[in-house]
Symmetry: C2
Subunit: 314 residues, 2 copies
């Protein structure tokens, strides 16, 4: 199993740069004061499709051979990765086949359809999703682009940290949220490749703490039916992301639901930007562990801003 | 009655520049596509205290003589102007006396108190507010800083448009919301001073359309008990702001409540930034008058981002 290196992330960045937004790094004097540290928010909520997922999806599509590109890409997802892959395919004249559970919210179906992807609905079980995906692959020859268990996707996700470190070169810590581990794998590979002395920390909801348990015990241990407001972090690590994270990440902290919600509200109120609950996890671990982070210069990967405004947790 | 000129706004900008945020000008390909025009959002929701009001308040405080500064400033307001004046005073080592109705929300009382202002509560009537203010002025000798019926406040508000035009020099139209008219007065004075060919348009809720009526009839006609979701635009023009607006503004359009709410949601969803309903009014008039704005390059003054997240209109 080949693990990504800094040079792979640098190549990915050159490849996808014309297609992605170089998102801003924002700061807040008020939030710095509250937590007594210097925070640099890398705002992937301003990325295309509203999430970092567009980086990985674009890198995966652009890394296809022309024969593969002719046949298209396929994935099963009801979240940001589906929209990201649909748009990345459309921008590269490739077909995208998206397998979604029938139960997916209408707004997400419309978003994916709006990018011109071909949607196939299935029963809302992992088995039905995988079976439906397999049938599409056989019929079309499309290449599977997994949301995180994919070398090129991980390299694309790492480009957010690359831009962050290009802009702020004296960070002491970088924190990224961890669900399936694609973002944390890319982030940690990039940061450690640039400077081993920068600490890389994963932030995970306590209610979906498979990465924390796997990291602590050294044994890959998926979550069973996790339930958290951070709905982007429900997935579990894969063999690939676990291997990368074990090698490059210094520590994983978990955050309680109430801290995640409080930090999401804090960012909305003070910074006037919309971040999704998954993104608030990176601030929530600072709130819960003040002694660890006090006085430090910290980069935070803000993963996205896709929120259902009719179902806010506060 | 001396009306402000471009040079007054330029002086104000030099004066307040070290204290304010130079807010970003943002764009959105998606929203441009929806309305078929090129929009440039001057984002005062990212200004200190979350609103353009900090510009005018700072300019008013910094324009005081040292004798006046020793005695402090006073205003009656329960909104963004109170917080802005409190912070501007604190940053300039001046006392701020704020008269607020007893019925003001706790969160607003706390914000003003947090900046170190001295709050005096009164009954929630205009008469009680003015009487209480008069008593404080007699007792302390503090200078009244009205939220908009004030030369220096208007000059400060105009500095947002000055930054916008410095950054985007080929706009065809600039739109600002209009309540009491301080922002629209400053904006129109600045824009027309720089280039008479740029159209300046005011955006007002239909449910609080005193500026529209006054502008159309040529007779100052205050609103009576207006009710709109755009709670920053409930106030009516003064003699001073009406004079400036009559001279410098080309047109005022009104917007229905449902358009304001839809445009607020649209900006949250697509741009991932938090704007208050008053700010959405500038986009709502474009939505309601597509033939007027199609194909144009338009600057929008986004007035602020202070929203009660527990009472959203959608």
């Amino acid at each position: 199993m080949r693990l990504p290196r800094l040079s792979d992330i640098q190549s990915a960045h050159s490849r996808i740069k014309p297609f992605i937004h170089q998102t801003p790094v924002l700061t807040s004097q008020q939030i710095d004061k509250i937590f007594d540290c210097d925070l640099f928010f890398k705002c992937e909520n301003f990325q295309k499709v509203g999430a970092f997922k567009f980086r990985g999806a674009t890198n995966a599509v652009m890394s296809l051979t022309s024969e593969e590109k002719r046949k298209g890409v396929v994935t099963h997802s009801s979240g940001n990765h589906a929209a990201a892959l649909a748009l990345a395919a459309a921008m590269n004249d490739t077909r995208a086949y998206i397998v979604m559970p029938e139960s997916a919210p209408v707004v997400k179906k419309n978003a994916v359809a709006g990018y011109g992807a071909e949607i196939t609905f299935c029963k809302p079980t992992l088995q039905a999703r995988e079976e439906t995906t397999r049938i599409i692959m056989e019929k079309t020859g499309a290449t599977l682009v997994h949301p995180y268990d994919n070398f090129n996707v991980i390299c694309g996700q790492g480009t957010a940290a690359l831009e962050l470190l290009n802009e702020e070169d004296d960070l002491e810590i970088v924190i990224a949220p961890v669900g399936g581990g694609g973002l944390l794998s890319g982030t940690s590979t990039c940061v450690k490749g640039i400077n081993k002395d920068i600490q890389v920390i994963g932030a995970e909801p306590l209610n979906a703490n498979d990465a924390y348990i796997s990291f602590t015990t050294g044994k890959l241990t998926p979550s069973v039916n996790p339930l958290t407001v951070a709905d982007g972090l429900l997935t579990s690590l894969s063999e690939l992301t676990f291997s990368v994270i074990r090698r490059n990440v210094d520590k994983i902290f978990t955050a309680k639901e109430e801290s995640i919600i409080a930090c999401m509200l804090l960012v909305w109120e003070r910074m006037k930007i919309i971040i999704e609950p998954s993104s608030a996890t990176v601030l929530a671990i600072i709130k819960e562990n003040p002694d660890v982070f006090r006085g430090k210069k910290i980069g935070l990967i803000i993963s996205g801003g896709n929120v259902d405004f009719r179902k806010l947790p506060f």
